[in-house]
Amino acid sequence: MKSLAELQALRDQMKANMGVRHDDTDNIRVVVGMATCGIAAGARPVLQAFTEEVSKRNLQNVTVAQTGCIGICQYEPVVEVYVPGKEKVTYVKMTADKVAKVVSDHLVNGNPVGEYTIGSMAK
């Protein structure tokens, strides 16, 4: 490293990788259901897609986590998004393709993707 600027750039890049270790309650939490049902329905590629997308966009305020069975197995893969101070949004029948839109609309711009939510699916 030849300068402080280089050091700072490296720090910012590395910080993104470490986000997973923050128990920061101010973070947006993306929770993927990874029980047997979820995995069988294809939750793993969804989880991977979220991790990759969040990392690509260097979103330091987002934690991607997994959880067990949420209890709505017919809708798996299920993904819950908790934005601090807002209602939980539950996306259902997620696929890896849908992830980019959720990340850009919801996580970045704060607009939940209505068409993927449990509300619209149930209709």
């Binding site: 490293m1 030849k2 300068s3 402080l4 280089e6 050091l7 700072q8 490296l10 720090r11 590395m14 910080k15 993104a16 990788n17 470490m18 997973v20 270790r21 923050h22 128990d23 993927v32 259901g33 990874m34 029980a35 047997t36 995995i39 989880l47 991977q48 979220f50 991790t51 990759e52 969040v54 990392s55 934690t63 991607v64 986590a65 997994q66 959880t67 067990g68």
Partner: protein, 595 residues
């Protein structure tokens, strides 16, 4: 990008309880499950809760698993990592609260702690400089080199009120200013990583868990005083610390954070390790420097002080590991932030190695001014087996005992000194009612006698004679004049010894004499050990009414000291009895007593 990080403690405590096997098992199982691109396994430094090792945390959930065995790993991987279901049975029980899982920070052990020096321990991979950088590593060095003059740095450290964490509590900024004021074309920065107090291991934990913080702080010190070379004097008995330091120095060099023209600022700083052979006296600054120079590790008279004539006769600064671990944060967060913790004369936090008769043994970092009661009863979880707290020993062989009557003492440098103990490097040994204070004094004296370098008369001969008097007393051969003799000799050794080792060696004797003189008198006059520890003063006997004559005791006795007919009360021959207590353990009727 990994979605999950598994942090396994790779500190010395957990390594010895088998954490390396945990890492192997994890890697195998994760591979089997095809998760190697999703889950990252990191070996960290010490978490502090060594009694529960091996320890492992899985993020992002922050699940804190304790006493993990390799056999547990397949389950952890299949359940937690694959399915996201936390394996509750392995959780540290303190984190399970009414079916809710608490984060580690909410447990009794961690709640009152405030981690500054240990900030990164158990959080980052100590063998990866990038993780240190991710947590603002080397930013302080960058700031110092680009925005501050050496005088600014020294003023900031002075303003923070940081005092040396190695024992005496000398103001760090003042120390640096002395070395900065000494004019010389060559100066040195040294780090005392020769932690030698029995029971203290916070420096080792920092080195194992966060080696870069020491490197960064030393470079900052080098800039402040005008030194371009540093030495870390680390004991060879700390192989993990040595290895991680070597890796860290190599990485820092490669990253251009050590060496020539650091961060393009024209500042040069190099760092080398020197391994100590484990002599306690080499923690004394002049002895440490003498040892680095390649001589027998012995102290030198001061003045000249190291700031004027230190390592290789050049102006030098020496701080210990924990002191350095505070520096980068002081630079980044400011003096006021640091002063917001602790007491006025002792700002900041202090790490204690909690040990002895206490539930949670391990490393705790608390703000200065925390009371002894909070540390022992809340963080430490109190005394096991319903026993009563008798005293806490701080400062290792240089310190003294704090009795129950002083449990509400706010712990800082000055308060400890006032009651005849000292901070030392932060060992804290808790003693319950079964501890004999004369025996404790003897224990510490034995250590000092062993570790005395032998250079000066008071320490070489005086401590030996002090030990012999204590030994006599614990064997029931003391006389009342011995108490005065102990006091006279202690005073002489304190005032006449060459270095801190000797000057503080009598403290355990003086402080136990001060608070527990009655125990000494009981040993001397009544020939009894009230705590029932001193073997020569113990007598085992059989209460005839309770003895059923089962012969178990007689068969257990290794000395053939017990005789008696079957189904008739037995007897112990006191001349043959070796006071091992085996009979008492075997007796099912409580018929054997020791007095």
């Amino acid at each position: 990008m990994y979605r999950s990080h598994v942090l396994v403690c790779g500190g010395t405590g957990c390594t010895s309880s088998g954490s390396a096997h945990i890492v192997e098992a994890l890697e195998t199982e994760i591979k089997k499950a095809g998760l190697e691109n999703e889950v990252k396994v990191i070996k960290t430094g010490c978490f502090g809760l060594c009694a529960l090792g091996p320890i492992m945390i899985i993020y992002p959930e922050g699940a804190f698993y304790s006493r993990v065995t390799p056999e547990d790993i397949p389950e952890v991987v299949a359940e937690h990592l694959v399915k996201g279901r936390i394996v509750t049975r392995l959780l540290y029980d303190e984190t399970v609260h009414k079916d809710e899982i608490l984060s580690l920070g909410e447990t009794q052990f961690y709640k009152k702690q405030h981690r500054v020096a240990l900030k990164n321990c158990g959080v980052i991979d100590p063998e990866n400089i990038n993780e240190y950088i991710a947590y603002d590593g080397y930013q302080a060095l960058g700031k110092v080199l680009t925005e501050m003059t050496p005088a600014d740095v020294i003023q900031l450290v002075k303003d923070s009120g940081l005092r040396g964490r190695g024992g005496a509590g000398f103001p760090t900024g003042l120390k640096w200013s002395f070395a900065a004021a000494s004019e010389n074309d060559q100066k040195y920065v040294c780090c005392n990583a020769d932690e030698g107090d029995p029971g203290a291991f916070m420096d080792r934990s920092v080195l194992e868990g966060d080696p870069h913080v020491v490197i960064e702080a030393m470079a900052i010190a080098g800039y402040a005083i005008g030194a371009n070379q540093g030495y870390i004097y680390v004991r060879a008995e700390y192989p993990i610390a040595v290895k991680r330091l070597q890796i860290a120095i190599g990485q820092a060099r490669e990253a251009g954070l050590l060496g020539e023209n650091i961060l393009g600022t024209g500042f040069n700083f190099n760092l080398d390790l020197r391994l100590g052979a484990g002599a306690f006296v080499c923690g004394e600054e002049t002895a440490l420097m003498t040892s680095i120079e390649g001589h027998r590790g012995e102290p030198r008279p001061r003045p000249p002080f190291p700031a004027v004539k230190g390592l290789f006769g050049k102006p030098s600064v020496l701080n210990n590991v924990e002191t350095y671990a505070n520096i980068p944060q002081i630079i980044l967060k400011g003096a006021d932030w640091f002063r917001s913790m602790g007491t006025e004369k002792s700002p900041g936090t202090k790490v204690f190695a909690l040990g002895g008769k206490i539930h949670n043994t391990g490393l705790v970092e608390v703000p200065m001014g925390t009371t002894l009661r909070e540390i022992i009863e809340e963080i430490g979880g109190g005394i096991p087996n319903g026993k009563k707290f008798k005293a806490a020993q701080t400062g290792g062989p240089s310190g003294g005992c704090i009795p129950a009557s002083h449990m509400d003492i706010k712990i800082d440098y000055d308060n400890l000194l006032e009651i005849g103990s000292m901070m030392g490097s932060g060992g804290m040994i808790v003693m319950d009612e079964d501890t004999c204070m004369v025996d404790i004094a003897k224990f510490f004296l034995e250590f000092t006698v062993d570790e005395s370098c032998g250079k000066c008369v008071p320490c070489r001969i005086g401590t030996k004679r002090l030990y012999e008097i204590l030994d006599r007393i614990t064997k029931g051969k003391g006389e009342m004049e011995d108490i005065q003799r102990l006091k006279d000799l202690s005073k002489f050794i304190k005032e006449n010894s060459l270095c801190g080792l000797g000057q503080t060696a009598p403290n355990p004797v003086l402080s136990t004499l001060h608070f527990f003189e009655d125990e000494y008198i009981a040993h001397i006059k009544d020939k009894t050990c009230p705590a029932g520890v001193c073997k020569d003063l113990l007598h085992y006997s059989i209460i005839a009414e309770k003895c059923k004559g089962c012969t178990l005791c007689a068969r257990a006795c290794p000395a053939g000291a017990i005789s008696g007919e079957l189904k008739n009360p037995h007897k112990i021959d006191p001349h043959k009895c070796v006071k091992c207590g085996a009979c008492m353990e075997k007796c099912r009727f409580g018929a054997i007593v020791k007095k």
